[in-house]
Amino acid sequence: MHRGRLSTIGAGAGAWLAAIAIAFPLLWALLTSFKTELEAAAYPPSFVNFSWTLDNYRAALGGGEYFAALWNSLLIAGGSSALALLVAVPAAWAMAFAPTRRTRGLLLWMLSTKMLPPVGVLIPIYLFYRDWNLLDTVSGVAILLAAGNLPIAVWMLFSNFKEVPAEILEAARMDGALLLQELGLVLAPMALPGLASTFFLIFTLAWNESFWTLNLTSTDAAPLTAFIAAFSSPQGLFWAQLSAVSMLSVAPVLAIGWLCQRQLVRGLTFGAVK
């Protein structure tokens, strides 16, 4: 028993050390965001003994663009993820519970649509968006991001649904439930963690997507990725500012992740849901 407890404590300490090592770059950026620019570039680096300042956050938040960008980010990431889920749930259901010979091929084809580097299709898409007045609109970007994340959503939901025992669904069907009832009343509660974690994953991917959001927006629909690009590499020292702005961009997603932790972790289970 002693050996068991010691190894648990050892594992615990190891886990904490490793976790801090992994999060270290972010923690370092957090620390840097409270320094002056001159201090941020100093060597040897300072850890606690410097004049802490909120100037960087003040500069980032003053002017109100942060909030407009935050709102756009929420709309784009939330909207595209919702759209992707709306389309992915039926598709994943069909693939998990009504598979055909083509199902595997279809899944792989969906993944293959992500193989063309976005930068290669910029001009055709830009031309198309120009002609349809979709440039610099939230909906324009959201549709494209939804299509981009759709294969991921389908894959994850497919894997999640496969863990749901088909017998329960069949039992519901035999009891006379319609498809909609089957989806909404039986499947959804069991797969809710899976839905939540899929939503969170594609939400995060859309939140940080920096190619389409930068190229298809200019002023009205500019999300946080564009806001950060305004603080990146100007002439002069900018590390403290960039760190502050990055923290402001990471914070919302981190907050959502913290609040929905239990749901999300349950949803990533590809093993048994007893």
């Binding site: 594992a11 615990g12 886990a15 904490w16 490793a18 976790a19 801090i20 992994i22 999060a23 770059p25 972010l26 370092w28 060597y43 040897p44 039926p90 598709a91 069909a94 009504a98 055909t100 279809l106 792989l108 993944l111 293959s112 649509t113 992500k114 193989m115 063309l116 580097p117 976005p118 930068v119 290669g120 299709v121 001009i123 055709p124 898409i125 198309f128 494209l144 299509a147 981009g148 894959w155 498809l179 995060t204 920096s210 590499s233 590390w239 960039l242 990055s246 961009s249 990471v250 997603v253 981190l254 992740g257 913290w258 932790q261 972790v265 349950r266 990533l268 289970t269 590809f270 093993g271």
Partner: protein
């Protein structure tokens, strides 16, 4: 049943068809013409000239190799590291929520920003954090991007994807049947044997999923390369090649040709990948 299934799948298929086939066709068309944005009077049909120019470029071969090396590096480091982290996390009971948040935090940072932070705050040989740490041991700072550009980029990208791998493997580990493991322990099997014979096969599916997902994203990786080395010798990959044709030379024809080559390459890679891990993907 089958008809209903097809109906349910159709919205997804339709959306993907429109968003991928149309641009693909347009890209193929552009790859066959000479279309340079900055030069007046271009737009003629030139057949396969763009492809020839691309494939005969002496840097093309190394670019392909770099693409594979980078993907391989990131897969290995993120999965092995993620598995290690997951094994540690599994045993922890206290403060698990905070630990999980710490571990997943790299995934939340915008990729170009992570690359900038790593390059300038950590890896910079004159004033970076790693330079300070090596000075504590009396060593000279390692010049990351001059001596090992591809590995440095690989390190940064592995750091970004490790949380993803770790979380998926962790939840799979946590769902591993306690009874089976305890039964094996009672039978006298060592931890190592249990790990190899029982745990690894159980993890085959999540590992396969992580491999497929990461590969898809890593094929289009270019922002980190752009921000750190600007695609110099030994650190350019196929996606960056497409980017430099499109956004530096503004040669849409060449960029489209490179994009099509990238698609072909990705499909070949996926074929082999599916052969290797495909069986684990089905239940």
């Amino acid at each position: 049943m089958r008809g209903r299934g097809r109906l349910l799948v159709s919205p997804a298929v339709a959306l993907l068809l429109v968003s991928s086939i149309l641009p693909l066709v347009a890209t193929i068309w552009f790859s066959l013409i000479d279309y340079r944005l900055l030069v007046p009077g271009t737009g003629r049909f030139v057949g396969l000239a763009n492809y020839v120019h691309l494939l005969t470029d002496p840097s093309f071969g190394p670019t392909l190799v770099n693409t594979l090396l980078l993907i391989g590096m990131v897969l290995v480091v993120s999965i092995v590291g993620g598995l290690g982290m997951a094994l540690l996390l599994e045993r922890v009971v206290l403060g698990r929520g905070v630990l999980r948040l710490l571990v997943i935090s790299p995934f939340f940072v915008m990729p170009p920003v992570s690359a900038l932070l790593w390059k300038n705050l950590l890896m910079q040989p004159v004033a970076g954090f790693f330079a300070w740490v090596s000075s504590l041991f009396g060593l000279r700072a390692f010049d990351w991007f001059a001596r090992a550009p591809l590995a440095s980029i690989g390190l940064i990208v592995s750091w970004q994807w490790l949380p993803f791998a770790c979380l998926i493997l962790l939840t799979s580990l946590q769902s591993f049947d306690r009874e089976q493991r305890e039964a094996a322990q009672l039978d006298g099997a060592s931890a190592f044997v249990i790990f190899r014979q029982l745990v690894i096969p159980h993890l085959a599916r999540p590992i396969a999923i992580v491999v497929m997902m990461e590969t898809i994203f890593l094929l289009s990786l270019f922002a980190e390369i752009f921000v750190t080395t600007g695609g110099g010798r030994g650190s350019s990959n196929l996606a960056f090649l497409v980017y430099s044709q499109a956004m530096v030379r503004y040669d849409v024809g060449a960029a489209s040709a490179a994009g099509i080559v990238a698609v072909v390459f990705a499909n070949v890679l996926a074929f082999f990948l599916v052969r290797a891990v495909g069986r684990s993907l089905d239940a």
